[in-house]
């Protein structure tokens, strides 16, 4: 039956994992959940890379007992995915160390508060006010031609 084709199931698994990972990164507020999303995205991408050369009936690319089977799977993507998994663990270790640092510096791991504090720090360093929306009411926003309005009001 068409639905139960192994190839299609595996492709849906790979794409599904990538979609869930990306969805998690975009929607979450907490830094640790974003890191979980990155790990899921990497897992899905590795599976997708391996699926590129999957034949029904091929065997693993190893010679056992001296006889070579007729059709063997491709060893080049497997070597690349091996490398990619180990690099993924390195990235995870680095991301977690940086998350610990962020918590030490800002006191919280909620990304909205961290972004706010970051903007505040940058504006303080540059000496300008925080960037704000231009839709705020006029008496909060500083007008450049303040003196003209006062003169007009006075006369």
């Amino acid at each position: 039956m068409d639905i139960l084709d192994t190839n299609m199931i595996l492709y849906s698994a790979a794409f599904g994992l990538m979609l869930i990972g990306i969805g998690g990164i975009v929607i979450s507020n907490h830094l640790i959940r974003i890191i979980f999303g990155i790990a899921l995205l990497e897992a899905g991408a590795n599976l997708l890379l391996l699926l590129s050369t999957y034949h029904e009936g091929a065997s693993a690319p190893i010679i056992v007992n001296g006889n070579m089977p007729a059709m063997m799977a491709d060893p080049v993507p497997q070597a690349l995915v091996l490398t990619a998994i180990v690099i993924g663990v390195g990235i995870l270790a680095l991301a977690l160390s940086l998350a610990i640092r962020v918590q030490r510096a800002y006191g919280t791991l909620d990304m909205r508060e961290v972004r706010l504090k970051l903007e505040q720090e940058i504006s303080d360093e540059a000496g300008i006010g925080m960037p704000s929306s231009s839709d705020k009411p006029a008496d909060i926003r500083k007008l450049p031609f303040n003196s003209v309005i006062q003169q007009e009001g006075g006369s």
Binding site: A79, V86, G90
Partner: protein, 229 residues
């Protein structure tokens, strides 16, 4: 508002992926480089495991760069975390089960790790898998008795640097003989024996010890950071 745009983005991504689905030729993908390598790998390198021959012989520089990436990540992780305060209280020892279990597991994990590393060219396995198991072997006793490392932190860094240097030196030896960097040397031996495939097992041994000591050092560093209670 943000969730709505996120959901819209995911929907668009899903539609794009569904469009890609239509064009995938299920089951009939073209394998060109793989077939060539499968045909000649046993003769040229003498390794029974073709993935090992690809990782070390046909694409050896990729492995070298991956070791560099791991080294950079471990180094930056160690730098970012900082040291523990000298007067901070030590965590208490774990219970009886964990201590005894760690004492029993340590030699077993060591043997399994070395077996997987040394048979990398015959069975599925190799330097990376065995290296991870070696890192676990050195970390489990640290979980049972926090603060007491089996091997000093400095010796672990020294071993890691030496193993990386051995990898590069073996690659340079090939250049001294007149070939290119990282060409496999020494005679092939017979297919399937433990001592075969030239310099491939030695390369994998260097990779395994480097990965193992690196990850063990990183885990120890992460474990001794103070817990925020």
């Amino acid at each position: 508002m943000r969730r709505f745009t996120a959901a819209l983005f995911l929907l668009g991504l899903g539609v794009m992926i569904a469009a890609i689905y239509q064009h995938i030729d299920f089951g009939n993908t073209a394998v060109n480089a793989g077939q060539e390598i499968n045909a000649v790998a046993a003769g040229e390198t003498g390794a029974a495991n073709f993935v090992t021959s690809v990782v070390l012989a046909y694409r050896g520089i990729d492995t070298l760069l991956e070791l560099t990436i791991l080294f950079t990540a471990a180094m930056i992780g160690g730098m970012v975390l900082g040291r523990r305060r000298v007067d901070a209280p030590r965590d208490p020892d774990a219970g009886f089960i964990l201590r005894t279990g760690a004492d029993l597991l340590f030699p077993l994990l060591l043997v399994v790790g070395m077996y997987i590393i040394l048979h990398g060219h015959l069975t599925p396995g190799g330097g990376f898998q065995g290296g991870v198991i070696l890192a676990a072997a050195f970390f489990v006793p640290l979980l049972a008795r926090p603060g007491i490392m089996l091997i000093d932190q400095r010796i672990v860094s020294l071993v890691e640097g030496l193993a990386g240097a051995v990898f590069i030196i073996i690659g340079l030896l090939a250049m001294f003989e007149g070939y290119e960097f990282l060409t496999p040397l020494y005679d092939k031996g017979e297919l399937g024996a433990l001592i075969s495939a030239g310099s491939l097992p030695v390369l994998y041994l260097a990779v395994g010890i480097k990965v193992g000591s690196e990850l063990a050092g990183l885990l120890a560093h992460l474990a001794e950071a103070e817990a925020l209670d």
